[in-house]
């Protein structure tokens, strides 16, 4: 079942008098539980597509469906609720809230919704996530007391806090050294397998790309390759 569907999506930005065609008409779908990678060089439209899937931007043309909900015409309130209930985000520069500690950063998305679990439930879940990302000893540290890799681990835990169907990660390893980047991708993959959460991440790193079971390659706002494979079997379809 497709959890994300894009049909002939176009996105045009206006910069002064000039029009920039960031996405020129792409169609693809991502299945639930996919570990999908959107790859391509800078300016190919990776981030724009992630923004459209993340409901923080609207297409100029075409249809974006998230978990069966078409996003066009939705008001800000509905889009915000959809983001909160369905999506999690991991950013290139981590984007932790500096005044909150590790525990509070992870707890943050949980406190935004109306139907939040009880205090005890929240605590147990966050402790599980902190443990899972290997930061049990840093629970009460502020973000400026953590390394880049640790911050990204917090961001992964935060993205998973609301148990979203989809986690979007925009170049999650770009600000990390290759070893840390590898471990972050492995962590994401582990979470993908254990929680059956769909991960969609953008990257231009070939080694990271290889771990994905669904690769969408972009060039100049168009899909040049949409391939699915069984990672275990190593076969590409």
């Amino acid at each position: 079942m497709a959890i994300v569907e894009l049909e002939n999506v176009k996105k045009v930005y206006t910069l002064g008098k000039a029009e920039v065609h960031a996405v020129r008409g792409v169609s693809f779908s991502i299945e639930k539980g996919d570990f999908a990678s959107i790859v391509g060089p800078s300016g190919s439209g990776k981030s724009t597509i992630l923004n459209l899937i993340g409901c923080i931007d609207q297409p100029t043309e075409g249809v974006v469906s998230i978990n069966g909900t078409r996003t066009e015409g939705l008001k800000d309130k509905a889009l915000t609720t959809l983001r909160h209930e369905t999506l999690g985000f991991i950013f290139q520069s981590f984007n932790l809230i500096p005044v909150l500690n590790v525990y509070e950063n992870i707890e943050f998305p949980l406190l935004l919704g109306k139907n939040r679990p009880g205090k005890k439930g929240i605590k147990e879940w966050i402790e599980f996530l902190v443990e899972a990302v290997g930061l049990a000893d840093h629970m009460h540290h502020k973000s400026n007391e953590l390394s880049g890799g640790q911050r990204q681990r917090v961001a992964i835990a935060r993205a998973l806090a609301t148990k979203p169907e989809i986690v979007l990660a925009d170049e999650p390893t770009a600000n990390l050294d290759s070893k840390t980047g590898q471990s972050i991708i492995e962590l994401m993959k582990k979470m993908n397998s254990e929680l059956n959460t769909t991960f969609i991440f953008s990257t231009h790193d070939r080694t990271i790309m290889e771990i994905a079971d669904h690769v969408i390659e972009l060039l100049d706002g168009l899909i040049v390759e949409d391939s699915k494979r069984s990672v275990e079997a190593g076969s590409i379809s």
Binding site: I56, D57, T80, F89, P98, V99, F108, L111
Partner: protein, 443 residues
């Protein structure tokens, strides 16, 4: 709500210097208005107390009657009705004094001056004796001899008399005859001559003799009440209780205090053509609040001026807050985008900024109040050797600060309201920001 409050509260400590400066500006405004309110509040209480001491009470009853010769005189005779009222309301009366008064010429050698003299029963005037500041001589002789007088220092200086010397006292009796006697100066006291409260004191029985009254008669009954808040009702009880059947239907209102003689409240005399003679004694009941109305009016104006200055300071601070919040909004653009991406609604983003404004305002108010308290504590402990006129505003030479809780609430509400107003537009702009643009920002 709790999340937005928590983030807002933490944000305050993010840029400590900036928050300190903003809260400091608010604190300065709060300090100024609080001190002004507390100073005037204290002054009102002190003036009321000093008036009460100087006039010998909170409620003043005078009696008038017509003589056979057609003269109206001020006199209170023994009256069963008045005694009953005193007895019935005894629980509300802290103390009462009976006084006579005159405006005689005081003569020493070639110098002469007219001055108000109260005839008091020194044995029952503890409050008066406590409040008198003796500059020369002693009050010890008062109980032993009747024909002694206590003079305000300036009066003694005008006459050129020394303590222990004898002066002449010349006055008209109640029925208009001239009377002269010798009286010894027992002491000089500080007074508030500039405020028209300068008075000399002698024994009531002695002054009664000079005025042609019996020793047990008097002209003013002064009462200290136990609860000043109830003074209006208390005075009304006496006013109604002492009204004669003839007076019923004449006028119902409280008499207006438009004339004071040496600070003594006097109802303006009715126009001669309107005077109709009456039998027996008619009473007039005044209370301290009627005298304080003018003072409170001045204090009210002062407080209004203070409030205007405070509002000007707030407007200036408001501009600063708006600018700072705009800066904060720009600095936190990416953070706002992140929070929006995770599902924070626009109104929640707005709330974070507004809570910050509330916290800053409250912090400023708290700092202003604490600083005012400290200043009040230090200034209030200093004994001032001020002019007699200034002494009237003081409590035993010390400035008193009294801050009504109502003005604290009003000023704090004003600060919080203006802080909210100042932060509203930046908060709204932050809330309206597109999550995508916010996330792609480089700040």
């Amino acid at each position: 709500m709790f999340l937005t409050m928590k983030v807002a509260f933490r944000n305050i400590s993010r840029q400590k210097k900036r928050s300190f400066l903003l809260a400091g500006a608010i604190a300065f405004g709060m300090l100024a208005i609080t001190l002004m309110n507390a100073l005037t509040g204290g002054a009102v209480v002190n003036i009321r107390d000093n008036f009460s001491h100087a006039l010998g009470g909170h409620v003043f009853i005078t009696g008038r009657e017509w003589t056979d010769a057609g003269q109206m005189i001020m006199k209170i005779r023994p009256d069963v009705n008045l005694d009953r009222l005193l007895e019935d309301n005894a629980s509300q009366i802290e103390a009462f004094t009976k006084r006579s008064q005159a405006m005689p010429s005081l003569i020493f050698g070639s110098q002469q001056t007219m001055h108000i003299v109260y005839g008091v029963d020194f044995a029952e005037e503890d409050k008066l004796l406590d409040s008198l500041v003796v500059t020369e001589g002693s009050l010890d002789e008062l109980g032993a001899n009747d024909d002694v007088i206590i003079l305000p220092q300036p009066v003694g200086e005008r006459l050129g008399v020394e303590v222990g010397e004898t002066i002449l006292i010349r006055l008209e009796t109640l029925t208009g005859q001239q009377n002269v006697d010798e009286v010894k100066v027992a002491a000089f006291i500080k007074d508030q001559e500039e405020l028209g409260l300068s008075a000399a004191y002698t024994s009531r029985s002695y002054l009664n003799t000079l005025l042609g009254m019996d020793p047990h008669e008097y002209q003013i009954l002064n009462m200290f009440v136990t609860d000043l808040d109830l003074v209006d009702g208390f005075a009304k009880t006496f006013r109604e209780g002492l009204r004669t059947s003839e007076e019923e239907g004449e006028k119902d209102d409280e008499p207006e205090v438009t004339v004071t003689v040496a600070g003594v409240p006097m109802d303006p005399m009715t126009e001669p053509e309107e005077i109709t003679r009456w039998e027996g004694t008619r009473y007039q009941v005044m209370n301290i609040n009627q005298i304080m109305e003018a003072v409170e009016l001045i204090v009210g104006v002062l407080n209004q001026v203070g409030l205007v200055i405070f509002l000007i300071l707030l407007v200036v601070t408001m501009v600063g807050i708006t600018n700072t919040f705009r800066m904060m909004m720009i600095e936190r653009t990416k953070e706002i985008g992140t929070m929006r991406a995770f599902g924070m609604h626009q109104k929640q983003v707005k709330r974070i900024f507004l809570w910050e404004a509330v916290f800053l305002g409250l912090l400023g108010c708290l700092a202003g109040l604490v600083l005012s308290g400290l200043i009040a504590l230090v200034v209030g402990s200093i004994s001032l050797n001020a002019d007699p006129s200034l002494q009237f505003f003081l409590n035993n030479g010390k400035i008193t600060f009294r801050l009504p809780i109502g003005s604290v609430i009003l000023n704090t509400s004003l600060v919080v309201f203006t802080s909210l107003l100042a932060a509203y537009w930046p908060a709204r702009a932050a809330a309206k920001m597109s999550p995508m643009k916010a996330l792609s920002s480089h700040t």
